[in-house]
Subunit: 215 residues, 2 copies
DNA sequence: GTCTATAATTAGATAGAC
DNA sequence: GTCTATCTAATTATAGAC
């Protein structure tokens, strides 16, 4: 730990980290094309060329931000697996879902960063999928299949289930400004995070209908 | 109807419409900041100043694209209401959900355009919410409440339910390039649209678990 | 490691010819 | 209604001082 000059506007030992952190938010909010290195620099309080000193190019900065995002996500997912082993299968799935909700509440930029790149086929998307997303999804598929074989989950196409979940969970958190305008509350505050976790678990496990209503 | 010179690369009576249509896709794919008027012009095959002739500014073009998007959405939602009146309540909800899936498969840009603006509070977002989104959400709330009072739906917080649904449905379609990279199929093709509708209706009404499993 | 200065490119927007 | 030409501001990136 080097105790030095921080919070002085300009100059700081840890400015590389702060640039990286700010870039994650910037890329998540505006997408790759919409993000600017000048805006990242302004968030941190440094000059724009400093970003090139630390990262070389805008694209390299974006890659570093993606690494940071997926690093956080896999950390959380690995923590989940231990709990899963100890729990009754149905509860294991509930625990996993809740963890994913908490993760997205804590780091709403991560899912948003991924989603912002996913509508256009680009070398960036291909790199992100090959290096980070595909392995993660394969892991999810394994867990889903064991749920199927254990007779716990209905035989539904995993691709639809996965994308429904990946769409449903983070949207509540990364649309915080929209939710504030519509209803005047902050979805990132603890009570709403908890409520969203409860609601999603209920919805995805046993549905919205009161009576089972088997067709 | 003026029958004139179309499909000639440059010059066309209906180029205003084609610019508008292309801008909707451009804004949806890249977000407002990431979108460029030059790119819209290139999509259509006209020059960039022509956009300013027809729409005045980039922001006015964006507003026109939003009007187009919400016009399509409300058209579909009004069509739903007639069916709803004729159907058994539980089926009415299923029909509505299916329609929303079909709509998003047909026009994946609409939801994406909304979502791309919803992470940052801006005058644009405020305008979109006041003029278009709030009325639509209020309509949804009315339907949700009647489902509650009819004893059909579980008493869950509507905000979480709405955003889960608004996140889950379109993501499968606007992430088509990502899905192609992961699994090699096109979610916009009819069989996958149908499968996604089936899966979402099943998930949101009676859940993913095979046995009801009431806690 | 961080700055100032600046080059090269691209953005949104206007003027004016056809 | 559409184009060419062009202005100004903003963008990524580099050079060089401290």
């Amino acid at each position: 730990m080097q105790e030095s000059n921080r919070k002085r506007g300009r100059s700081s030992k840890i400015s590389r980290d702060r640039i990286l952190e700010a870039s994650l938010v910037e890329f998540a909010e505006n997408g790759y094309e919409g993000a600017t290195t000048a805006s990242v620099a302004r968030r941190v309080g440094v000059t724009q060329p400093l970003i090139h000193y630390h990262f070389g190019s805008k694209e390299a900065l974006w890659r570093a931000a993606v690494e940071l995002a997926f690093g956080r996500m896999t950390t959380v997912l690995q923590g989940v697996e231990e709990d899963v082993l100890r729990a009754e299968p149905r509860d294991a799935i509930r625990i996993m879902a809740r963890r994913f909700v908490y993760f997205n509440a804590r780091y709403p930029e991560v899912a948003r960063l991924i989603i912002s790149e996913s509508a256009v086929r680009s070398p960036r998307l291909e790199w992100m999928v090959d290096k980070h997303l595909r392995p993660l999804i394969r892991q999810l598929e394994v867990m889903f299949k064991s749920g199927l074989e254990g007779g716990i989950l209905k035989p539904l196409p995993i691709q639809s289930v996965v994308f429904a979940f990946l769409g449903a969970v983070p949207h509540f958190f990364d649309a915080a400004p929209l939710i504030d305008l519509l209803w005047g509350f902050d979805p990132l505050s603890p009570e709403y995070v908890e409520a969203h976790a409860d609601t999603l678990v209920e919805m995805f496990t046993t549905g919205l209908f009161r009576t089972p209503d088997v067709a």
